[in-house]
């Protein structure tokens, strides 16, 4: 166990869904600790429960049982409003399909989390620019997502996830829609940002080689259960 306060601590977390008469155990009694500034990859086949687990950590879903502590706070017991605040201030999220709002420019997309966090209007342009600088897309400020390549869109999504300076970045198959070279570039960027900003990253992926190369540790899930955790080859820090 790491000596410092863990970023995320899952304790016997289960998430069951009712499917007619039967109950599906999407996540079943998972206990896992993610240290601060760690890059953890959640691996597993489709339906293994890795995305469900990520949604639970993100506060988008609530566990049926067990507790989820993020920096010492049990998010399973938070009110709906407090959970929204947690998502807004502590969590940054990126998705396989980027989930940028196509009708908005990059600037507007990046401003959205700042609006939700009620960041002062005068402060926003600098924050947007800073986040876009980190992903090296400042020159595309006024463009719409559809005018960008897949890799660029994912970089914008990362910038949007970073704009509120979260402590935890959750990535759901971030390379799933990208070719391998672009995927690698994205993960390199994530790694770089992690060392710059000091974030904890939890990434769901089914691409073991990529995870081996970029993550600190791999956690493998199967049928909702945590099968194993092992240190990755990692890249020298």
């Amino acid at each position: 166990m790491p000596t410092s306060d863990p970023a995320i601590q899952l304790d016997h977390v289960s998430r069951h869904y009712a499917m007619g008469e039967t109950s599906v155990r999407a996540v079943n009694e998972v206990s896992l600790t993610v240290a601060a500034n760690e890059f953890l990859a959640l691996l597993g086949t489709s339906g293994s429960g890795k995305s469900t687990l990520l949604n639970l950590i993100a506060g988008l879903d609530r566990p049926t049982s067990g507790s989820i502590h993020a920096f010492g706070r049990n998010i399973a017991s938070l009110s709906s409003l407090a959970l929204a605040r947690y998502r807004c201030n502590t969590i940054g999220m990126i998705f396989q399909s980027f989930n940028l709002l196509p009708r908005m420019t990059l600037e507007e997309n990046l401003e959205l989390p700042l609006r939700l966090a009620e960041v002062d209007r005068s402060e926003r342009p600098a924050r947007v620019r800073e986040a876009l600088e980190r992903v090296r897309l400042t020159h595309r400020l006024g463009h719409r997502p559809t005018e960008l390549s897949g890799g660029e869109q994912q970089r914008v999504a990362i910038a949007r996830a970073l704009v509120n300076r979260p402590k935890i970045l959750l990535a759901d198959e971030p390379t799933g829609n990208l070719d391998s070279a672009t995927g690698e570039a994205i993960l390199t960027l994530l790694r770089e940002l992690q060392s710059q900003l000091g974030m904890t990253i939890v990434m769901v992926t089914h691409e073991r080689p990529l995870a081996e190369d970029f993550a600190d540790r791999l956690a493998t899930l199967g049928d909702g259960k945590l099968l194993s955790t092992a240190p990755a080859k990692g890249i020298p820090q």
Binding site: N55, A58, L60, D61, S80, L81, A84, R85, R87, C88, N89, I91, M93, F95, N99, L101, R103, M104, L112, P113, R115, L116, A117, E118, R121, R160, N164
Partner: protein
């Protein structure tokens, strides 16, 4: 989210599906327009009626008589418990009435039955003195000829029925002379004090003699109906003369006989009755109460105007219910539009929630969108409703003019109605947004993000 961010996002969302939202807004506008137009007819009719009534002097006038007066058929009994000592209705009292707040004017009632000679033929009729303010009463609106040139002109206006008695062609009477024969009171020589130039002086302690007199009057107009200048007259007056002219006649009136025996201790000019006009019918009650407290008998037709207002309130309510039907249909349009928007923006709602939007944020966003549709629909609706009301008045007047009738202001859109319609549009739209907004707020973000 802060309010300006909410409205910002709401406007942006509305702009995205511009056609659908414009159509929905127009739906609201049509609903509001029909509401405004229908109500405006109700308000217009009410204003028409109450203007006619208030101009007639029936509802803004308080009829004051001394408490010692005998009780006639239509005089109310004095209220029990009001034991203010009676006072003579004299010049002092008149001046006090004039000083009361919201009193427009105070004038004596001069009405007497007498004989008129026209073409050397006698005609019996009631003569009434008209205050100059009656010039603005609706009754003289469509008159033939003109109103009195001055408050003391030797001129007469005939009531149409009386004019018909005088001539087959009433209009031809204008410009002709007639002779008014009347009985002038002359104080007996014994009492000289207090018999100034004023009208109803009955002298102080003595009596008066009656002397027949004649006055030549020029007919200047013929009027359809008699404008009411108060109550307590002796039937409808059919010959109208200026009030000052009437006062100067010192014609004997019925109450003179009562005054002579009542032994009024005052040696000032006393009046049989005074009409006190308030600035508006709604101001009548306090003035009436104040006069009663001074020790006079006072009454008004205020209660009648109150029931008239109740009638119109109910009328407006019924009309409003019909007018709201279109608005109710427009409401369904808003619900439909916003429910469609939820389906379309399902994924977007999921993203918003993943980025940290609370249920309340999402709910408020949809709420504001509904409110904006309502506000714009309301504004456009009020403008269209006003135009529509104008068109109704225009059309009605075009028809009335073709029928040789005077144009009227059939519809009216007062500020209050415009404001109320706007408010109603917003409130109704917000109510319509209630269900879609709560549905959007309850959307599970995990499901919403998975939705393609």
């Amino acid at each position: 989210m802060k309010p300006h961010d909410l409205t910002d996002l709401a406007f942006r969302n509305l702009r995205e599906s511009i056609l659908r939202n414009v159509l929905t807004t127009l739906g609201v506008a049509v609903g509001v327009a029909s509401f405004v137009a229908i109500i405006s007819i109700g308000v217009g009719l009410q204003q028409l009626a109450s203007r006619r009534l208030s101009e007639s002097g029936l509802f803004d006038t308080i009829f004051v008589t001394p408490k010692t007066n005998f009780r006639g058929m239509n005089r109310p009994r004095p209220e029990p418990g009001t034991d203010v000592p009676p006072r003579p209705l004299d010049e002092d009292a008149r001046k006090e009435f004039e000083k009361l707040p919201n009193v427009l004017e105070v004038y004596p009632q001069i009405r007497f039955f007498t004989e008129v000679r026209f073409n050397n033929k006698p005609f019996g009729t009631v003569v009434a003195g008209m205050p100059d303010s009656s010039r603005n009463s609706g009754a003289f609106d469509g008159m033939q000829g003109r109103f009195f040139a001055s408050a003391s002109a030797n001129e007469a206006i005939l009531q149409i029925e009386f004019a018909k008695e005088l001539s087959d062609k009433p209009a031809s009477l204008i410009g002709q002379d007639l002779v008014l024969r009347y009985a002038e009171r002359q104080p007996l020589p014994a009492s000289t004090s207090g018999s100034g130039a004023s009208a109803d002086s009955a002298g102080a302690s003595g009596g008066f003699s009656i002397v027949p007199r004649e006055l030549h009057l020029k007919i200047v107009g013929v009027v359809e109906t008699e404008p009411a200048t108060g109550y307590g007259g002796y039937g409808n007056a059919r010959l109208l003369i200026p009030l000052d002219t009437a006062s100067a006649l010192r014609a004997a009136q019925v109450n003179d006989l009562r005054d002579i025996v009542s032994d009024t201790p005052s040696n000032k000019t006393t009046y049989g009755s005074l009409s006190v006009r308030a600035k508006s019918p709604s101001l009548v009650q306090p003035i009436e109460d104040a006069i009663k407290k001074m020790g006079f008998r006072a009454f008004s037709l205020f209660d009648a105007s109150k029931s008239l207002r109740i009638f119109f309130t109910v009328f407006d309510l019924l009309v409003g219910i019909f007018g709201s039907l279109a608005l109710a249909i427009a409401t369904l349009g808003i619900v439909n539009t916003l429910v469609m928007a939820i389906l379309e923006r399902r994924r977007e709602i999921g993203v918003l929630k993943a980025l940290g939007a609370s249920d309340a944020d999402v709910q408020q966003l949809f709420f504001v969108e509904a409110g904006v549709i309502g506000l714009f629909g309301g504004i456009i609706g009020v403008v269209f409703g006003w135009l529509f009301a104008r068109a109704i008045t225009f059309g009605t007047n075009a028809y009335l003019l073709r029928q040789n009738l005077n144009p009227i202001q059939l519809t009216s859109v007062p500020w209050l109605l415009a404001l109320a319609a706007l408010l109603l549009a917003v409130v109704v739209s917000l109510a319509a947004g209630l269900y879609p907004a709560s549905r959007a707020a309850k959307l599970n973000p995990v499901d919403a993000l998975r939705y393609e």
